[in-house]
Structures are given as C-alpha cells and as structure tokens.
Amino acid sequence: MMRAVFSALSGALFGAGLLVSGMVDTVKVQGWLDVFGAWDPTLAFVMGGAILPMAIAWIVAERRKTSVLGTPIPAKPNQKLDTNLILGSAMFGAGWGLVGLCPGPALAASFLNGVSGLVFLVAMVAAMVATPALRRALTAIGDTAWTSAR
C-alpha cells in the first residue's frame, strides 16, 4: 500500500515537473532539437536540473542497498552497447522529433493534448503491446538465417 502511495506521489511530481518545465509544449521540444532553426536551449536546463537531485539519490541509494520501503536498489545493468539499444533509440528519437512527444510528457498531457494526443497514445501503447511479439518474430527469423548459414 505504501509503495502505491509513494508511486502515485512520484508520478504526480514527475507530471508537475514536466508541466512547469514547459516540456509538454511540443513545439518547444522540437525547437531544442532544431539546430538549424531558432534553437531553444530550455531542454538542456531541464535535463541538468533533473540529473542533479537524481545523481545525489543514486549515491545515497547505492550506499543503502535497499529502499526505505525495503525493496532492493536495482543493480547497474550490463554496460555493453548492443544493436537493440542503438536501433531502438534511433527509432524513438525519430518519433520524438516528428511530433515533439516522448512517453513522459505524452502521458502527463493526456488531458491537455486533445484528440491528437489520444491518437499518439493509442499508437504508442499498441506498439508497446506488440513489441514482445515483434522481438520473438525477429529472433525466429534471425535463428533461421543463422542455422541455414551453417
């Protein structure tokens, strides 16, 4: 129960931060990505502001090993760079630039973006639901190519 309470509080504070920082303004986000237009540096200030308290939290968390509510602090994942990380990030970035929405602000502005926002959210969630199947299909194709090549 306490986990749900603090989870909701984190979500609310995250959403408030996205609103206050102006990150729900899609044209502003695109303005930061547009290095050949009227470049808007705001997003760099948002990132800097967000990384500061988060870096302190990591230092504290890694010393404590467990969270206040007793759950383990997630271990640092394998640091190998792989195709999924690079390819997926490239796809995500392209979509982000196209309309100026990434998952956080898209969710925070669910009730502020009108019908357009819903169209984006439905497409995004549909893709998220389909990803495990796509992953399995790609692995299957990869395996066939790999075995037939041998």
């Binding site: 984190s10 990150m23 988060m54 990591w58 630039g97 309309v99 497409a123």
Partner: protein, 142 residues
Amino acid sequence: MLEQDWIWGFVGGLMIGGAGALFLLMNGRIMGASGIIGGLVDGSGRSNWGERLAFLAGLVLFPPVLALLYGTVDTRLTDNVWLLIAAGLLVGFGTRIANGCTSGHGVCGISRLSWRGLAATIVYIVAGGVAVVAFRHLFGVI
C-alpha cells in the same frame, strides 16, 4: 522571455529529478516512463502492476489539475493524424526495444554514470534532430 523559460525549465527539471529520487529511495524503482507503462501493457510487469498503475495515475491525473492554475496550457501538438500515428509507433517500439526513453536512459541513466544511458541519449537526440531538420527544413511537413 527566453531566460525566464530557462529558469522554469531548471525548476521543472529539479521536480522531475526529485520525483525520480523519491521513486528510487522510497520504492527502489527506476523512474522510466516507457518502462513503467510498457511493462504494464505487455504483461512483463505483472508482479508490481499496482505500483505501475499508481505512478501512471499520478502522472496522468495531476498535471491537468495543476494546469487549471495556469489557465490554459497550449501544448501546440500537431493535428496531422499520419504524423501522430507514425510518431506514436516509432516511440512505442523504439523505447521498448531500447529499454528506455528520456526519463529512464536520460535522467536516471546519466545521473548514475551509465554508459548505456548516455549512448542511448546521444542516439535519440541526434535522431530527433535529424527528424526535425529533415521534416521541417527539407520536406516542410512540420
């Protein structure tokens, strides 16, 4: 006007980082928007669905309440349906394949000095820049 935007950007950033810090220190969880919703809708996060749902409830429901204080919040989102669908699919597939987005890889990853987070952030910012420059200045669509 721009300088004021930077200050609000920094203040909002501190709130975003504060939210991530709260989620990590209280719940022991990484605040990644795509991972929280992705794990909920594809079933991989079944073991802690309540925590995910609570986070999303806060994230979706609080900003519109706060927006009332602002009067109107214009998000200036495009109404081009094809762009919205294409972008939604790219963001959905991309973040799940890469296992993170701006909040997970960017905010939580870089602050932990994670090379994967930094690499992902560089790639999606470059890809986003290319998309904006191409579709705005070359094709004139956005």
